[in-house]
Amino acid sequence: MEFDIKAINEKIEKESAFVERLMAEVGKVIVGQKYMVERLLIGLLADGHVLLEGVPGLAKTMAVKTLSSVIKTQFQRIQFTPDLLPADLIGTMIFEPKTGKFSVKKGPVFANLILADEINRSPAKVQSALLESMQERQVTISDETFTLPSPFLVLATQNPIEQEGTYPLPEAQVDRFMLKLSIGYPSRDEELEIMRRMTGLNIPNAKPVVTPKEIENAKKVVHEVYIDPKIENYIVDIVFATRNPEQFGLEDLKDLIAYGASPRASIYLSMAARAHAFLKRRGYVTPEDVRSIGLDVLRHRVIVTYEAEAEEITAEDIVRKVLNKIEVP
């Protein structure tokens, strides 16, 4: 089948115009962290939820807030605490004495962008309630089912160092996040700029510059981005290498991997690579896109063995090794 790359490139050129505006507006508030903002956009465009992990103070929450403020969308921030209940999240039935009837009180989950701050501070039942709505994109209160608005994106944060009093997300639930971002410290120059910007009189604010309609249109174009069978095979090779490393010349990883990535990883890797190509204004996916996003899609999907833990080898190390071993098409 002949593919009209010119047409898709033109569409991308048109529909990705907002990206520059968005990045510029976010850049007014967030210094550096281009990697994080780009990944948040990929999550938004590819309909995938994002889990951000990093020590406190790295502007995780601020980045999400800023992103929501530049898009004219409904934004809700939910601070996860140990006493949070599922009803606090999805809503509940309220008795109205005036009418003598129960009415639905929708919870904060009914928004376009949800910031689930410190998701691992709440017990499993609350996490499950959120993760279920993430997957089904609908919520059932009493006997009524409500569809969640579109775009619907959950951006969750968690702190990797304070583990006391937390409820770590089970693997099955972590798997529902398309991307898991590991946020690092800013560079020296960035830190200087952050310090100057945040200690001045006028703390910058981001203005809405993108409409949800633009996002929706862009999402449609992302689905049209061409992905060649060679790239599809490359993705499947990467995912299979996490399951059967010995078949790809990675015998040393065999005893380090307890469980490899699921088929959901292949789906998300393909979608995220498309979104990455869109952000690069390309109408087709290259191995570059797969490799760029591969670590973020796979790092939370590879479960390491006790042996790997004893040797202080992380899932990230394993994924890096896989990406560096599989030959690009």
Binding site: G283, I326, V328
Partner: protein
């Protein structure tokens, strides 16, 4: 492998023959005996004999001295005689016996003196002649008889029953056989290594670029009317990545175009070469991954670019900036 097996087989045969000869020597015990006989005019005879010409060092030798005559048994009186004079032998036991028998109706008298002799050391040993004096009582005349000297060879000891020394020999055999195998294996490996090195040297003699230029012509034939242009772009991209990996030691086969360019930039290779490599890889990527139709003119252009860059590299025109700077410093 056949050669190696044959060599091992021959070595084992040689070792087997050697050890067989050693064992056979040890067990060689002759049955032949030596008899010295002297007969007097009066019909009395004296003989001295040993039971073997060769005696193992840890065995004994039997010397038998025999006086024999026909007729009246009391005719002769044999005088007391001394023990035989021995060289490299010693007497460990002796005995004597008188016998009478009947032969063809007449009497035969027989006096026997036997000595058990023990060798003292390896080599030759001798039993000097034995002199026996006797008196013929009929004539009352005294006579004497003498035997000749007897020589006996003392050889290596035989293994004693229950002796485990054969195990030592067997062990020695096994060790020597093992050593032979190891030596031949080493020789074989050395020979193979020499052949491999010679082959590598021969390959090194051809410049890498020249090798790739030959391969380029084999991989993509632009004159082929059935040439698949899309596949050719993939072939050229992979070919170039392989060359870059071998030439500049960058992981080009597993890296993306962007990473390859970044790696080459780190190596401070001249910009023009990097730009052209980027052009080739990016163009190939577009054709390979965008699903768009590829033009033959574009393939010819890319082919030409690869060829020209290989030629440039062969002529040493692709220089590393650091080297250039170092060279200029050296000139200064």
């Amino acid at each position: 492998m056949d050669y190696y097996c044959k060599r091992c087989f021959y070595s084992l045969v040689v070792l087997f023959i050697f050890f067989t000869s050693v064992f056979s020597q040890n067990s060689n015990q002759t049955d032949s005996s030596v008899i010295n006989k002297t007969v007097s005019e009066s019909g009395i005879s004296l003989s001295a004999q040993v039971n073997t010409k060769q005696v193992p060092f840890n065995r004994t030798l039997e010397l038998l001295i025999q006086l024999k005559w026909y007729g009246n048994l009391d005719r002769y009186q044999v005088h007391q005689f001394d023990n035989p004079i021995l060289n490299n032998l010693e007497i460990i036991a002796n005995s004597s016996a008188n016998k009478v028998s009947n032969e063809n109706g007449g009497n035969i008298a027989l006096q026997e003196y036997s000595f058990t002799l023990q060798p003292k050391s390896l080599g030759m040993s001798y039993i000097e002649g034995v002199i026996i004096r006797y008196t013929d009582l009929d004539t009352d005349t005294e006579y004497s008889l003498t035997t000749n000297r007897i020589e006996v060879k003392v050889i290596d000891s035989l293994p004693e029953p229950g002796d485990k020394s054969w195990m030592l020999w067997l062990l020695l055999f096994v060790v020597l056989a093992g050593a032979c195998i190891v030596v031949f294996r080493r020789l074989q490996q050395r020979k193979e290594e020499q052949i491999r090195r010679a082959r590598e040297e021969a390959e090194k003699a051809i410049p890498l670029e020249e090798k790739y230029l030959i391969e380029l012509k084999e991989r993509v034939d632009l004159q082929d009317p059935n040439l698949d242009i899309g596949v050719s772009f993939s072939t050229l991209s992979r070919f170039l990545r392989h060359f870059l990996q071998e030439k500049f030691n960058v992981p080009a086969e597993v890296n993306t175009t962007e990473d390859v360019v970044s790696e080459l930039t780190k190596q401070q290779i001249e910009d023009r070469f990097i730009d052209e490599i980027k052009d080739i890889l990016t163009t190939s990527d577009i054709i390979k991954f965008s699903g768009s139709h590829a033009e033959k003119t574009e393939l010819v252009r890319i082919y030409g670019l690869i060829e020209s860059n290989l030629h440039k590299s062969l002529r040493g025109e692709v220089v590393i900036k650091n080297n250039e700077q170092n060279d200029s410093k050296n000139i200064d």
